[in-house]
Amino acid sequence: MQSKKIIIFLIVLFVISSAYLFFVDSRDSDFNIGKDWWVVYFDEPKKLSWNFSIENHSDKNDFKYEIFDGKNKVDEGAAIIAKGEIRSITLDQKIGRIENGKIMVIVSDGTEKKEIYKFTGLGLEF
């Protein structure tokens, strides 16, 4: 009888512990809960495309972006992106084809800037 009680006790302890650990893991692995980060990336990394996305996992949601061709600003804009959302910015039609140069996307949340860039005419496919 005592053995059975010990087993039941063990099972209860294990179930409570593991359920708690599953809960903690689902919270810790969540991209948004308790996290403060955002990312910018090109949608088509291997192609000569300037379309990019901002993925927001921070508490800030007012993003501004600027597009440079070399040192020349060719476009700019803003986007309100809620936490957990991804916003794709389409630039290809606006900017068109640039044969030789460096297209740089600079995104800012007001305090922090991140940039991505591509060199044109260097192996990228249209």
Partner: protein, 673 residues
């Protein structure tokens, strides 16, 4: 919330199907309703036997070329359970009036046993191994019936052990451990490809490290990125502690020794290696090995009951039980060899030492001993399991480590300082000061006691286990072993906890004056306080602060991005030094164990004893160099994942690398030419 509950339910159902029911029904088939095992023993043993049974089920599938899917896994487990149940029913119908363990008493050749003996503190009597007595109470019942204080203490110890480990694991539960990532790649591979992995020929992995995760993953449908892999390891770790409890109780037949052992291996040093830290670190082989090794020793110790007996008291039941226990011991040993090479390696030394020393010390009775061993070994159940296991091992599914090159890496003179053996100071930090001191004391005391009980195989089992692991970790040269000494030293905590428990018990509790003498009681309290402080402070010191998983989720987000944007023509290189949870990246691609390429720890490129390729280092550290350019050309690497805080400068200077992805912890570069 509903999803969470559903996941939980499917996890526990899968766990029961994979890790409990096969073993439980196997025990039912071999022992029927005999009370030769206590309920607690059946519970613990069922898990170990299930793990091994699932291994063999999958090996059979491998041999028969049956795909491993959710359906075939359920069918296989159901079939196994049904066969076990049919055997049980058949035996029950043949002998409905007697429990199976007491069926025949006409085959031993040494007469009929006497009546049950009263439990005492001497070596285990053979009656302990038998089924129900005439009074209806078995020796197992007596051995596993605790006083109220003992019962409360066991529950308290279990609660505190769970509590400390859970607190630790709650800080580290998310999947970021390197080893666990490597192991889960193969488990995921098994789930995706519906077959056992071949590990691309690498001897580092052994199938038993993946099967239960693969099976639970298949049945539950849970992601390998969830908490389920470490939770399974946590369960196995706890079962390992319970295996120590039942092993100690069976061998010493003293409840207080078993409780003290649980205190020393469970509550104390509950976090440090090889406990919760190995769980969170995903040291799968060690965790499973530390469960299967004591389990195998438990079965061998119980199989040896026949050897302890005087010839006049030997019964057919003893012989029969010894055969069954030896069959299970061999079954568990195969499971061990299919699960972890280092533990199996240690087991081989322990077992060889145990057998040789036992025969030498019982040389006078060698004839009788060998005659009994012969009777046990050359029996149908033992030979069936042994031959069946060997057939599987050498002809159906042979572990990758069974090859000359893998053996050569483990055998020979120590090639590094870390393999030359641990000092006492190393051992102290490895297993704890209190356990080291008390363990040595317990060893000496048990050696002293063993002199008068030379037939007691159980005592010698514990002694062999501790002496061999102690010597392997401190003097590896004696055994011509070339393995990291600290990894072997971690194994010492298990036998030394048992011996520490025995030492404390022998010095204090066994003295009749304990109850009356205040001085002895005070000394006992001081020793317990000393061990408690040492063991608990160790756990408190190693408790991590709340981990920040921001880096980990960025690794996963970037991996997911790259897996979607690349195809088989692309090659990816990532960094192991500064990227959190990078070993899990390969699970997003599933394009081979070595995909993506990885820049390893810097010190590994400087290891004179193990020269290695330099491409992965050069391609990240100095991408403009001629060596790196050649490496990029040779490997076809065109994507590089690094931590921009450490490794972006060298890429930003170059006009043939596009910065295509940027987050605080991960930058991805695309090489255009």
């Amino acid at each position: 919330m509903v999803n969470f509950i559903q996941n939980q339910l499917s996890f526990y159902i899968s766990l029961a199907l994979v890790m409990f029911l096969p073993g439980r029904f196997l025990l039912l088939a071999v022992f029927g309703k005999s009370r030769i095992l206590s309920t607690l023993e059946k519970f613990v043993l069922s898990f170990g036997l299930s793990i091994v049974s699932i291994d063999f089920l999958f090996f059979a599938y491998f041999g028969l070329k049956i795909p491993i899917t959710r359906f075939t896994t359920i069918v296989g487990i159901t079939f196994f359970i049904a066969v076990c149940f049919a055997i049980y029913k058949k035996r029950e119908n043949c002998h409905p009036e007697l429990p199976p363990a007491t069926l025949s008493r006409n085959d031993c050749g040494h007469g009929v046993s006497g009546s049950n003996k009263k439990l005492d503190s001497g070596p285990a009597s053979p009656e302990l191994e038998r089924g129900e007595s005439e009074t209806g109470t078995t020796e197992s019942d007596k051995l596993f019936t605790f006083s109220k204080k003992q019962f409360a203490l066991i529950l308290l110890l279990l609660f505190l052990t769970f509590f400390i480990k859970t607190v630790f694991l709650s800080q580290t539960i998310s999947p970021n451990a390197t080893d666990l990532g490597h192991h889960m790649y193969w488990s995921e591979w098994m789930v995706e490809n519906h077959q056992l992995p071949d590990y691309e020929g690498m001897p580092d992995f052994i199938i038993g490290e993946q099967t239960i995760f693969g099976a639970v993953g298949l049945l539950s449908g849970l992601s390998f990125f969830s908490a389920f892999p470490p939770v399974i390891l946590y369960l196995v770790n706890m079962l390992g502690l319970l295996a120590i409890f039942i092993l100690t109780l069976r061998i010493f037949r003293e409840k207080n020794v078993a409780i003290l052992a649980l205190f020393l291996i469970g509550l104390l040093y509950a976090v440090t290696a090889p406990q919760a830290k190995f769980v969170s670190g995903g040291v799968v082989g060690n965790i499973l090995g530390n469960f299967l090794l004591p389990l195998a020793l438990y079965f061998y110790a119980r199989a040896s009951a026949l050897l302890r007996e005087k010839s006049q008291t030997c019964t057919a039941d003893d012989l029969k039980n010894s055969k069954v226990f030896l069959s299970l011991a061999i079954f568990a040993t195969f499971g061990l060899f299919y699960t972890h090479h280092l533990t199996a390696f240690i087991f081989l030394f322990v077992f060889a030492f145990l057998i040789v020393i036992y025969l030498l010390l019982n040389f006078r009775d060698a004839r009788e001993t060998l005659s009994r061993i012969k009777k046990i070994v050359f029996s149908f159940p033992v030979l069936a399991v042994l031959i069946g296991g060997l057939l599987f091992f050498f002809f159906i599914f042979t572990p990758n480590y069974v090859n000359p090159s893998a053996v050569n890496t483990a055998v020979g003179a120590p090639s590094k300082a870390t393999r030359e053996g641990l000092t006492f100071a190393n051992l102290k930090s490895s297993i704890g000061e209190a356990r080291l001191g008390l363990g040595i004391l317990g060893t000496l005391l048990l050696l002293f006691v063993y002199r008068k009980n030379r037939r007691d195989f159980g005592y010698l089992t514990i002694l062999s286990w501790s002496i061999i692991v102690f010597l392997l970790s401190t003097e590896p040269r004696l055994f011509f072993v070339n393995l990291p000494s600290d990894r072997i030293g971690n194994y010492l905590s298990y036998p030394f906890s048992i011996l520490s428990a025995y030492g404390i018990y022998y010095i204090f509790e066994k003295q009749k004056a304990f109850g009356q003498n205040n001085l002895i009681r005070s000394a006992f309290a001081v020793v317990i306080a000393f061990t408690l402080i040492g063991g608990l402070s160790d756990s408190i010191e190693t408790l991590p602060k709340q981990n920040d998983y921001t880096g980990l989720v960025q690794t996963f987000a970037s991996s997911s991005y790259l897996a979607a944007k690349t195809d088989l023509s692309d090659n990816v290189l990532k960094d192991h030094n500064y990227i959190a949870g990078d070993s899990w990246i390969k699970l997003f691609f599933m394009r081979g164990y070595k995909f993506p390429l990885s820049r390893g720890y810097f010190k590994r490129y400087e290891d004179a004893t193990k020269p290695r390729e330099m491409c992965t280092l050069n391609m990240i550290s100095n991408p403009a160099s001629d060596e790196a350019k050649q490496c990029y050309a040779d490997t076809g690497t065109n994507f590089v994942m690094v931590n921009p805080k450490f490794d972006s400068g060298q890429f930003r200077k170059l006009d043939n690398f596009d910065q295509i992805y940027f987050s605080p912890e991960i930058a991805i570069y695309y090489r255009t030419r």
